[in-house]
Structures are given as C-alpha cells and as structure tokens.
Amino acid sequence: MTELQAARAATAQERGVPMLELRDVAMHFRARGRGFRSTTVRALDGVTLTLDRGETVAIVGESGCGKTTLGRVSLRLLRPTAGQVVFDGEDVTRTPERRLKPFRRRAQGIFQDPFTSLDPYMTIGQIVEEPLVIHGAGAAAARRERVRWALDEVRLRPAEDFVDRFPHLLSGGQRQRVGIARALTLTPDYMLADEPVSMIDASSRAEILALLGELQERHRIGYLYITHDIATARHFAPTAAVMYLGRIVEQGPTRQLISDPLHPYTKGLLNAVPEPDPANRLAERIVLPGEAPSPANVPGGCRFHPRCPAFMAGLCDVVPPPIVRIDPLRSVECHLYGDDDHQRVREAEPPPDDTENTAQDGETV
C-alpha cells in the first residue's frame, strides 16, 4: 500500500465509512431467448451490503441465486447495471479499468476450483509473483522475497521447496493455499473468498478455513465468504446473508439465522442440510417443493412465492415484500414480518431496472 492509499484508508475509517459498500446493486445480463428474442437475466436485483476490515460476511445461497455475480461485482470484475460499488468511501462503479489499479491492489479474490484456477505451465513461484509483476511492485529480488513470505504465510513450508514446482504436483488443499498466497502478496484489505473449500476434501477444509482466519487476524483482511454451505458459514463468518434469485432475503448473525430462521426460504434451506445423525435415515426430510426458477424468469411479487409454504394469495404473488428490520442486526424480506411492530426500512424493492449491461458480453443461460 502506498502512503497515499494508507492515508486515504485511515481517513475513510475515521469518517466511519465502511471498507466495502454495495448499494442497491443490480446486474442484468442480456441473454438469448426463444428464437430471435432476447431476455433479461436478473442475476442481481438490488443488493445492499457492507463489509469492514477484519470482518467476515457470508453470502449463502444455492446455484443461480447470484452469489458469484455478487462477488464478481464486489471486485469490479463486472460493472453493475445499477447501484454503486464504494470502496473506502470512493465510488468505483464507473471507474475505467486503467484507473482501477489502486483498487485492484487492495481487493483480491480466491476461487472455488484449485484445479483449474492455476496455470499448469507456470511454477508456483511464478503464479504467486504474477500480481506483483502486474502491479510493478518492487525489483525482481524483492519480489522473490515477497513470494517466499507469502508461501510461508500460507504454510507452504519451506517455501524454497515449492517455488519451482508445478501445480499438478500439489494436493487440492495445497493448490488452494497457492491461490491464497497469490491473493496475499499485495496485502489486500478485502478478499473475496468464492467457495474456497467446496472442492477440497472434508478432512482439509477446516485447515483452509483456519488459515484464512489466521491471515485475517494478522492482516485485518475483510472477507466476503461466498458459499452454498451454511454449516461452514457458521464456523467461519459471524454474519451471513441468505440470497435467493438475486436478492438478499434475510441477514443477521449467522448463529441466529440458524437457530431462529425467519424467512421461509432460510428455514427450507436449513431443513435440507444433513448432519451426521443415525436418526436421519428413519424419516424423510421436510423439503421445499421444486427448484428455484431461472433468473431469466423471476416471479412477480415475492420471488420466492411459488415455492413458499407460507404463501398468502393476493399478497405474496402481487406485492414485493418490504425489507423488515427485526433488530439492529437482523433483517428479513418477507410479508410475514410486515407488521407495524417492525420498522419498515423501505416500502418495497424498486421497479426493475432494464438498463442492459453493455460493457460485458451477455451470458447465455
């Protein structure tokens, strides 16, 4: 971090500005529909979220809920079609790529698949060094020193044994640590962790999560932990947000979300999670019917209404539910909690923004 950046970060903190702020972010893609028509895929549809240094927030949801898109927007790998991405009080939503380097230095990501996210033709040393080269950080000798430091931080020790090896010689857990070392070389303040342990054997997952926790303590990194696995979220993230079809439907302290879920979707999700218990086999699980519809075809009213066990006809299928704040830390977006006892944060979600994203190639669903 340059002195200027450090100073800016310090002042931002004094002002009480969160490190990362997503304000009502939407990400709509244009995709090919039937015949020559095009449809709009509403991957994200009005998501607001903040993350501070040293904090971990989990984004929990099933495939297609928009959690990965959210992560990519947070790193400005995608430019959202509406809303803002604000980092240390500075709006980076429309910042052109050539001026994003200072942001990129401070916001890094680690990703799900440690088998394909590392270039097989590069050595571990080259992989970890690459961000330093891109950002012109230091002379060759200093960079090599930095690579050894990063490998040591992720406990690939002794670092000398790893720098000249190729990724295919490493186990899944070791590869993921290379990915973490690579993200760490620039000592970022923010790290997106998109399903970092879901392809790693159960016996090594805890090791990777513990390592991320240690790095957070030492370097005050803020993590956005994206996962489909609410159980790991409990153990890794004090706060969690549950996503469904492009919106956060419930958020709060992770333990409370699990012990006292409010949204019918959160309840359904929790019912589906198996715990090792011999009694499991004796009864069927209570499950939500069907599967989430495609984000190209978002139901009106509450987007969860076609699958909701608490569906109220004439309300849920017509009126988008308000975000209801239950207490300072918890909120839920559901008509069941729409009483006046709770303070309504906002009457309803805004009308869909149909601005298409022209900066990116549309993805076909």
Partner: protein, 330 residues
Amino acid sequence: MNGRATSGEPLLSVRGLRLSYAAERGDVRAVDGVSFDLQAGQTLAIVGESGSGKTSLALALLRLLPRNVALLQGQAILNGVDCLTLSDGDFRDRIRWRQISMVFQGAAESLNPIYKVGHQVREVLTARGGHSRAAADGRAKELLDMVRLPPETFNRYPHELSGGMKQRVAVASALALNPPLILLDEPTSALDVGVQAQIMNLFKRFKANLGVASIFISHDIALASDLADTIGVMYAGRIVEIGSTEDVLRAPSHPYTQKLLAAIPRLRSDAPLEFIPGAPPDLSDPPSGCRFHPRCAFVMERCRSESPPDLPSQSGSAVAACWLLDEGAS
C-alpha cells in the same frame, strides 16, 4: 441393523476384493482387500476422501473397468453368482441393470441429448428387459411418476430439464428392471442442497416401499447417514472401520473415522473443527503397516510395521482395523 447381526444369506457378499491399475510409476492399488456383506433391502454407505478407492470399488462391482486394470481378484457374490468370474457378456446380459443398477454423480450428463427422456428410459426396458415397445412405454411412464416427474417429462429432451430432474430420470432408469441392488456413486454431489434432500427422500422411499438394497458411495459422512444402515469407512484402498450407522457415528473406533467426523462443520454446534494433517498416501507406494500411520495422532511402533487386522470395537457391532483395539496394546 448391521449386516452381520442379521441371519440368512446376504444379498451381496464381497470377499478380498483387489483392484490395481497399471501406471508408469508402478501399479496403483486402488482397492486392496475389501470384504463386506450386504443384506437384502439394506443400505451400506462407503465413505472416504478422494483417492480412497471408493469409486474403484463401485466400478469393480459393476464390471465397468478401464483398460489399464493390472489386477482384479476376490469374490463378489450377488444372489449366489460370483460377478467377478462371469464373462463380460454374461455379466451384461444377466446382472447389469437386472440385478445391480447404478446412478452416478454425472448421471444427468449421461443422458443422450438427441433422444427424448421417454425413449431413453424405454430403451433400458426393451434392450435389457425384453419388454415390447408398448409395455415399455407404459412402464417408463410409471417409472417417471415414481420419481415424481410430471407425465409430460416423457416427451421432453434432456436439455429442457433441470439437473435435479435429470438425476430423477437416471433414478427411474436404474429402477426400471426392479433390481434388488442399486449402486449410488455420489448421486447428489452435483446438486444443490435442497434438490439433494429431495433425491435422498426419493431413495428413502424406494428403500422402504420397494425393498431395494443400495451401496451409497460418498465423501460426505453426514449425507451418508441419511440413508445408511451400515457405514464402511475407506482409507487408502481398505475399509478401516465398518459397523452400524449408530455405532460408527456415535462411537467411532478408528482414529481416521474420529477425525473425519470432527472435521465436519456442525450446523448447531460450535465445537472447533479439526483437520487431518498431511495428505492421503500415493497408492502406488502405500505406507507400510497401517496405511494411516503417517497421519495418525496415536501412532505406535507396531503401526509402522504391521498391518492391523479387523478388530471388534468397544461398541459391539463395528470392526476397525486399528491396533488400538488390540487388547495387548494399552
């Protein structure tokens, strides 16, 4: 509940199964002496990490082996017939689909994209079951209904279905010829947790209503407990512990099983997560003695040199290959 406690001939009896693959660095001993019994209508879960040999075990039982098999020996007696000594043709005509069918992790991708779903389920019935086309159509529709797919699915193409629906089609095909045994190899791993629970419910129903036995292969011991009467834990090509689901989950005997359970993040407990240091061994050159000894917290001198036999655990029904259970050890 354990297979050993039930009287009568087991449906499947596997003895001393070994399977090795030829590789440049020497033969890879993927399955190295596996034995178990499975009673009719029961579910045995085989749990283990990647590389433990659990999928190779499944492939050996189904005789779906790659070309580089260097060694296949042992017995797998299903309803009195040794599946490993039958000719390929006999196995195909008499056993596969009729006696033992399968649902794989990628079963959704195994559907042929250019044929309608109904055609593909029907094909199992006409080609393998000798049904007439009309009878097969009726049965295919019945099967789709059994897996809770709407009737119009019969005339849909695979790309029109979601991953969960395609997996249901695979389950329907597996049930087509009423086999007494289904092999389920990570059948829900590619699915979201909600759909996974739906498919597990489906398996539970078939187990209860049709009396189908199954071997459920998974890396996820929590998921295995959703269906399994018996759990076998595999490590480095061997079953290191096997017993009733109650015993294995509540009082695991093998240090590997204990660690595996302690590594699972619990939804409703804050018990600190443990992990197993190191990585599973290279099966072309497995460690001497107990294969888990380089990673075991309780390693003793004997573990490094002598391979432990199956020993009865404290809890009764389970057996574990660990010297800690040997009376002379402590």
